[in-house]
Every structure is written in structure tokens, then in C-alpha cells.
Amino acid sequence: MGTLWKVENLTKEFEIRSEFKKIKVTALKSINLEIYKGEILGLAGESGSGKTTLGKVIIRLIDPDKGKIIYRDIDITKLPERVLRKYRKNFQIIFQDPYKSLNPRIPVGLTVMEGITGNKKERYEKAVELLNLVGIKEKRFYDYPHQFSGGERQRIAITRALSTEPEFIVCDEPTSNLDVSIQGQILNLFIELKEKFNLTYLFISHNLKIIRFLADRVGIMYKGEIVEMGKTEEIFENPKHSYTQKLIESSFAF
């Protein structure tokens, strides 16, 4: 397995402005990370641990303060947006809230078409094909996002991510706003798509049960740091860090 992503010393601080002063919040504290081609890397942690920020920084939706992001031997940390745009198609993101991640004024089919290249007819056919793959029928191509249920919207968001034929997808808690019965469908879909398109996932979740089910390797984040990282079975069977132990204990108590 080759290395797809390499992240060195990644640091990010946010400024929160209040009436008095600027408060600096450290979201990421010198993170080092490698993602191998074809794996599912799970990233677990509680709210405010910086896992979502890490996901966004890796694909440069947020710029880091310090550190290096290397994608397939290319240092993309400082690439200007204009140049980066070439690579953007290779890595996509799926957000937590399917109600916010689709433009409310664009029919879902057209949203999917945006990422596809080619002439209009090809793009349309490809979009229909992809939507079919996730179980959205062609007759709903021109429907607006608000006409779909949460689960269907998440499927559409997945389709949009697939439309650029990426090799890597950041999945940012993609099932945590969905019902249990829908969650199962979406998780299956992720597995199927991974096999079909040879994808690599960075799967972010606070739900350790899902992480254990899905991930090959796991990183546990706590207050902006990765406190422990390793093969999934090893981490879950023999957690070393006290925080990991506590987290696993409270997750699997029931």
C-alpha cells in the first residue's frame, strides 16, 4: 500500500472575537499523519477535539497555520487556489448535515452534474447513472433538496462527491444526523462504493462502534492532538492512552 497523504506538524489556531479580546483556540496541535491508499482511516474524538478541522485542513478547505500537507509527493500546503483546483477533483468531502450541504436553489441533478466534465449529454447521463447507483431515480433529477428526506439527501451528497471520480473522500460524521435504519443503508453504501471505485476514506465519527466496524486504522483525537493511533483491532483491544481507555469504556458499556 502506498502512501496517499502525508501530513506533518499540522497546526491550526482559530480566533474567536468577543467584545473584550480575541481568544485563540488551538484546533490542531502539530498533527502528524499518513493515509495509505485504499484504506479507511477512522478518526474518533469528542466534540471540540479538532477532528472536523483536521478533515477540512487536509483537503485545504481551511488553510493551516503551520505544517505540511503532501498529497502523492506533491506539497499542496502553499499551492494557490488556482493551481490547487486541478487536484481538487481527486479528493472530496461529505458533510455531517445533509440539510445544509446541498444548495437549496439548485435541483439535485444539476448539483451532481457540476462536478462532471464532458458535453451536456454525457454529463447528464453520468449524473443519472451515479444517482441510480445510490438509489435516486431519474424522475427526481430536477427536484429540489427540500423535497428529499435526510437519508436521500445524504445519498445525493455522496453522489456529488463521486461525480469528480475522486480517489479520496473525507467523510465528516456522515451518518450522525440520520436514523439508525438509514445509517445502516448509508454505511453499506460506503463499503460498496469503496470496492467499486477503489476509494480511500478518512472517516470521522464520534461513534466508536461505527469506527470499529468500518476502519482499518484509527486515530483518537483529544484537544487538538492525536493521542493514539494504530490498527483498529489493536486500539480497541489494547488501548494505551488513558483517554482512549475512557472513551472505549463509555462507548461499549452498552
Partner: protein, 351 residues
């Protein structure tokens, strides 16, 4: 547009009606030359402060006339402006009656008016102290009062969109500086700022210069509020996940701005524009009312009311002089209703 109107009709009938009233008012303003029975500056020296002419179908003998008519009136007491009708003089009202020469819309020469009388006078809303027909003056005044609303809001909206957009999209220091500037403008009471800006220029300007000046003053005052609204909007939409997703699809900034950000500000800005037009109409009326705006003999709804200030005799003897105020009120309430309705309709939650 059609779809919006249909939705408006379904969800909020009052705003739907308001929309058509506004359209009708603009229609009246555009065709003022044709609809008004008299030119705006035509003085009937024998008819100062003449009350509104009543239109009759029955004469004093209870005889029915198919064609409506008016009685001729005569000033009987010049000191108290008392008028009496002359019962013998029945003047029928005709459509497409011959009047003075003019150019409709400034292009088509014509001598016809929509309605009028061949003998006698018809003053639907009465006359002012110089014997000018208030109805005709209201129609001509509508041109100024209504157009300033649209032109003023367009200019401030352009400024507001530019500055608010830049401020919101780029953020950081630029945002900081621009927003301080906006705050400074908003920290002056609008009325004082309006008068102060007016004070910079001489009082006696040509009517066209004054028109321009009013537009500029009102836009200078109005842009700040709109810039703030648009900045907030851009700021929040910029952070929306669908914009981030579009960015990660590798779309160009141009496409992101014009396909994903701006369309999502549209509904909100149209509402904001609609709701801010009354401010411009009020601004113009206020300036003209105080004698700082449109000057006689040119009518605007504001300056037609200026005789009512501090002139109790006129107010109590000739209350029809207040009619231009009713038109201002009607226009403003319609824009307010329309704005509220649009806010409802544009909310994707209500689709």
C-alpha cells in the same frame, strides 16, 4: 417572476394586491401627460382652493344622465374661498377630450386627454392656492416621487452590494475598515445627515440638478444599511457547506460566486430593496416638503404638502391639500406589504 407572483397570490393575497397597486401607480406616473386633464403648471386664477369637483349622474331635477357630468362652480366669497355650483351649467365628462398640446412620454405628440370636460372645469382632488388642479399635479408629482425611490435604491444597492460583498467575501482588515466606515454613516441621524449634505449645495439649482442631488444624497445615506445587510449575508453563505462542497468540486471562484453565493442572496436582497424603497420616497418628500428639494412650479408629493406646514387656515379650510400625503402613505404601505409577502415567498421553507 410569474412563479413568484403566483406564490404571492396564494400565500399572501394582500401583498399580491399591493404589487398591482404599485404597478398601477407607476403606470399612472408614466402616462401622466395623457391621464391628467390639465398641465401641472396651468393656473386657473378664478379657482383658488376650489374643493374637489363632484361627478353626477342625476341633476338637481333628479333626471338621470347616461353620461356623467359636473356642474360649473363659481367663487362667491374670495376671502373665505367659498364656492357655489351653478345649477344651470351642466358640463358632461368626455373621454379622449381635446386639451393642450403635449408629448406623451416625451415622444408622441398629442392633444387628447383621457378624460375632461368641454366647458367648465373638472378638479377631481380640488385645486391649490394658485388654482392648479391637484389631481394632475399628483400624477406629474408621482413621476418624481416614484422614480427617485427606484433610482435611489438602485444606486445604494449597487454601492451596498459592492462594499458589503467585498467586505464579506474578503473579510479581515478590509472588512474591518469598511464596516467602521458603514458604522460612521449609520451613527449620524439620517435626517440631520440629509440636511447637512443638502447644505453643501446652493439653494437655487435647476430642477434637474436638484433631482440629481436628491438622488445622490439619499443614496449616500442609504448605502450603509444595505452594505451591512449584504455583508452579513455573504459572510454566512460563504461558510455554508454547499459552498465548501462547490469549492472542493474544483469549481472556479467565478462560478461559486455567481452560481452558489449570489442567487442565494437574491431573495433576501429583493426583500430588502422592496422594504427600503419607502425610505427614499420619504426622503424626497421630506426634502421637498421643507423647500429644499423639488421647487415650484414642478410638483412632487412632498412639495405639494409644504403649504400645509404652519398654515392652519389652509389645513382647516382646504383639507384636500393633504391628498398627496395619502398617496405617499398608499405607496409606502404597498411596498411594505409587498416586502413582507416577498420575504414569505422567497423562504425555501415555504416552497
Amino acid at each position: 417572476m410569474k412563479k413568484t407572483l403566483q406564490r404571492l397570490r396564494k400565500r399572501n393575497y394582500i401583498s399580491y394586491i399591493s404589487f398591482w397597486i404599485i404597478v398601477f401607480l407607476y403606470f399612472l406616473a408614466i402616462l401622466a401627460d395623457f391621464i391628467a386633464p390639465y398641465p401641472f403648471n396651468k393656473q386657473f386664477r378664478d379657482y383658488p382652493l376650489c374643493p374637489p369637483t363632484k361627478i353626477h349622474f342625476f341633476d338637481h331635477n333628479k333626471k338621470f344622465h347616461l353620461r356623467p357630468f359636473v356642474y360649473e362652480v363659481k367663487l362667491v366669497n374670495p376671502a373665505l374661498n367659498q364656492y357655489e355650483i351653478v345649477k344651470e351649467r351642466i358640463c358632461p365628462v368626455y373621454f379622449f377630450v381635446k386639451g393642450e398640446k403635449k408629448k406623451i412620454l416625451g415622444i408622441f405628440p398629442s392633444t387628447r386627454n383621457l378624460f375632461g370636460t368641454k366647458e367648465g372645469k373638472i378638479f377631481l382632488f380640488g385645486t391649490d392656492m394658485h388654482g392648479r388642479d391637484i389631481f394632475s399635479r399628483i400624477l406629474y408629482g408621482a413621476r418624481i416621487s416614484l422614480s427617485i425611490g427606484i433610482i435611489g435604491v438602485s444606486i445604494s444597492f449597487f454601492l451596498g452590494f459592492l462594499i458589503g460583498g467585498i467586505s464579506g467575501y474578503f473579510g479581515g482588515k478590509i472588512d474591518n475598515i469598511l464596516m467602521r466606515l458603514v458604522e460612521i454613516f449609520m451613527m449620524f441621524p439620517a435626517f440631520y445627515l440629509m440636511l447637512a449634505l443638502r447644505a453643501v449645495f446652493p439653494l437655487n439649482l435647476s430642477s434637474f440638478q436638484i433631482y440629481l442631488l436628491i438622488v445622490i444624497i439619499l443614496s449616500l445615506i442609504g448605502w450603509a444599511g444595505l452594505a451591512r445587510i449584504i455583508r452579513g449575508m455573504v459572510l454566512s453563505i460563504k461558510e455554508e457547506e454547499y459552498v465548501l462542497a462547490a469549492k472542493s468540486l474544483g469549481l472556479s471562484s467565478f462560478r461559486i460566486i455567481f452560481k452558489h453565493i449570489i442567487p442565494n442572496t437574491f431573495s433576501y436582497s429583493i426583500t430588502a430593496i422592496t422594504l427600503s424603497i419607502p425610505g427614499y420616497i420619504l426622503g424626497e418628500s421630506t426634502l421637498s416638503l421643507l423647500g429644499l428639494g423639488i421647487q415650484e412650479p414642478y410638483p412632487s408629493w412632498g412639495n405639494m404638502l409644504s403649504v400645509c406646514i404652519g398654515n392652519l387656515r389652509v389645513l382647516s379650510n382646504a383639507p384636500w391639500m393633504l391628498i398627496p400625503g395619502l398617496f405617499i402613505f398608499l405607496t409606502i404601505i404597498c411596498f411594505n406589504f409587498l416586502g413582507d409577502g416577498l420575504r414569505d415567498v422567497f423562504d425555501p421553507k415555504n416552497w
